[in-house]
């Protein structure tokens, strides 16, 4: 039976949230008893944009929005679990999805001043910093990495 994208999605996010680990395509394949190629094709064909985005060069997950597969300047930690986000917006998205107190760590993009903040679920107060959106919304999906 072909692997279902909804099952892949739940598995990926469960792994991310419970263990802080973004599974490889081989790990997803092993979980569902299918080939790695089938996993890659299923994710690609689902076209869920940034939610599950495969790196075409490696066949591995590049993003599981708002989580980044790669280390970035936007780090979120809860105990021994650590995640990265692609931007300031996604950093807050990760913090909310984790659903428990997390530590946010980033820097001012200009001067490197550290940004460190303990974020509690449902909190509305965040430091008086700002986010600069360089690219207009009509071009957000032209080059996700640059955006």
């Amino acid at each position: 039976m072909p692997v279902q994208i909804a099952d892949v999605r739940v598995f990926v996010y469960d792994s991310l949230l419970s263990a802080g680990h973004l599974p490889t395509s081989a790990e997803i394949a092993a979980q569902f008893g299918v080939s790695r190629d089938e996993v890659v094709a299923t994710i690609r064909n689902a076209r869920t944009g940034k939610t599950l985005l495969i790196d075409p060069r490696t066949g591995e997950l590049w993003m599981a929005g708002p989580f980044s597969a790669r280390r970035t300047a936007y780090e979120i930690t809860a105990g021994t679990r650590r995640w990265w986000a692609n931007c300031a917006w996604d950093m807050l998205g990760v913090a909310d999805l984790v659903g428990e107190p997390v530590d946010l760590s980033a820097r001012c993009t200009d001067c490197g001043e550290p940004f460190a903040f303990r974020f509690a679920p449902a909190a509305d107060d965040v430091p008086d910093w700002i986010v600069h959106f360089l690219v207009p919304a009509r071009r957000w999906y032209d080059d996700i990495g640059f955006t």
């Binding site: 700002i130 959106f133 207009p136 009509r138």
Partner: protein, 71 residues
């Protein structure tokens, strides 16, 4: 969507790189945006938002106008 200490820091960073200014949004508004934008992808019935739904999310936190028009 990069984090900055203040508008002065944005201006300096843009000038050094020759980029045009985009839009500056308080982090508190970005928090509202992230809450409205990201649903738990494990939820039953989860599906990607349509373009119009995403546009409404932006508008719901006051991000309207040409800069925020999705393709």
């Amino acid at each position: 969507m990069s984090l900055f200490r203040s508008e002065e820091h944005v201006a300096r960073w843009l000038e050094e790189r020759g980029h045009a200014r985009g839009a500056i949004v308080p982090l508190s508004t970005v928090l509202q945006l992230s809450r409205a934008w990201y649903a738990d992808p494990r939820a039953p019935g989860w599906r990607p938002r349509t373009r119009d739904e995403s546009q409404k999310v932006l508008a719901s936190v006051g991000l309207t106008g040409e800069f925020w028009e999705l393709p």
